[in-house]
């Protein structure tokens, strides 16, 4: 049980960092394109992390159940 818990905590930390990055891009960057890219990339990164590590999308194409 320890290993998946560690994964969860690491993902949580990255999510927190990305949220703050996103917020800082929105509040402190003036250039429209850079701001847009910064926010979009952060949001996409968060979505991918949740979908992969929390929702376990890879289990869809894994033939047999492990647990």
């Amino acid at each position: 049980m320890r290993k998946p818990m560690q994964t969860g905590l690491i993902v949580a930390a990255i999510l927190a960092v990305l949220t703050i990055t996103e917020y800082l891009f929105a509040t402190h960057v003036e250039d429209d394109l850079v701001r847009f890219l910064g926010i979009t990339v952060s949001a996409l990164g968060k979505a991918v992390l949740i979908i992969y590590y929390f929702m376990h999308i890879y289990r869809l194409w894994r033939p047999q159940e492990a647990h």
């Binding site: 049980m1 998946p4 818990m5 969860g8 905590l9 993902v11 949580a12 999510l15 927190a16 949220t19 996103e22 917020y23 891009f25 929105a26 509040t27 429209d32 701001r35 926010i39 979009t40 952060s42 949001a43 968060k46 979505a47 949740i50 979908i51 590590y53 929390f54 929702m55 376990h56 999308i57 289990r59 869809l60 047999q64 159940e65 647990h67």
Partner: protein, 189 residues
């Protein structure tokens, strides 16, 4: 919401397939919901471009963090069930419910202090997007409460984790939606 449990659904399929079938069904449901949320997101930019009315930034950031945190607690609960740690699972399901309720309360508070009205375009799209999302959060909380009540009685285990997994996946999905709705509503110029 639990799409299925073993005793009846797909009783004729090979045993190892039950979980895969249930999981595929749930994912297809998410794909379909993605289109609904995506259409509303597109409507937001179609109507208003990147224009936005003033919102309470501190509150927005706070409820975003709370919803992300609830995903972490939900993940912990699911992992605990998969390792037969029923006590931890019940507690973390409880935390998830509380965090979900705080999020819904935050949205309600945001609605009450909003200085725009539903009869203007930004108000329309803001209340609709947050409203539909909050409806999903409330639904998720209801399902979490049902699962939590069963988990307290020890009904789930590593051999029977599906109901917990399904509700937790749904919860993560609602979180992913907010990951995109938050910048679209709060962070545009």
């Amino acid at each position: 919401m639990a799409l299925a449990t073993a005793h009846q659904e797909a009783a004729h399929a090979p045993a190892h397939n039950h979980l895969a079938i249930n999981r595929a069904g749930l994912w297809l449901f998410f794909f379909s919901e993605t289109i609904l949320f995506g259409l509303l997101l597109s409507a937001r930019f179609y109507l208003e471009g990147i224009h936005r009315e003033e919102l309470n930034q501190a509150l927005g950031l706070l409820i975003t963090v709370i919803l992300l945190l609830s995903s972490v607690t939900a993940y912990t609960a699911e992992t605990a069930i998969e390792h037969d740690n029923k006590k931890v699972a019940s507690w973390y399901l409880f935390f998830t419910i509380v965090l979900g309720l705080i999020f819904a309360g935050g949205v309600a508070y945001e609605w009450s202090i909003a200085h725009f009205h539903r009869n203007e375009a930004f108000g329309s799209i803001f209340f609709t997007m947050t409203g539909i999302h909050a409806t999903h959060v409330i639904t998720g909380v209801f399902m979490l409460i049902l699962v939590w009540a069963q988990a307290l009685r020890g009904r789930y285990s590593s051999k029977n984790p599906w109901a917990v997994s399904a509700v937790v996946m749904y919860w993560h999905f609602v979180d992913v939606v907010w990951v995109f709705y938050y910048p679209a509503l709060y962070l545009t110029k």
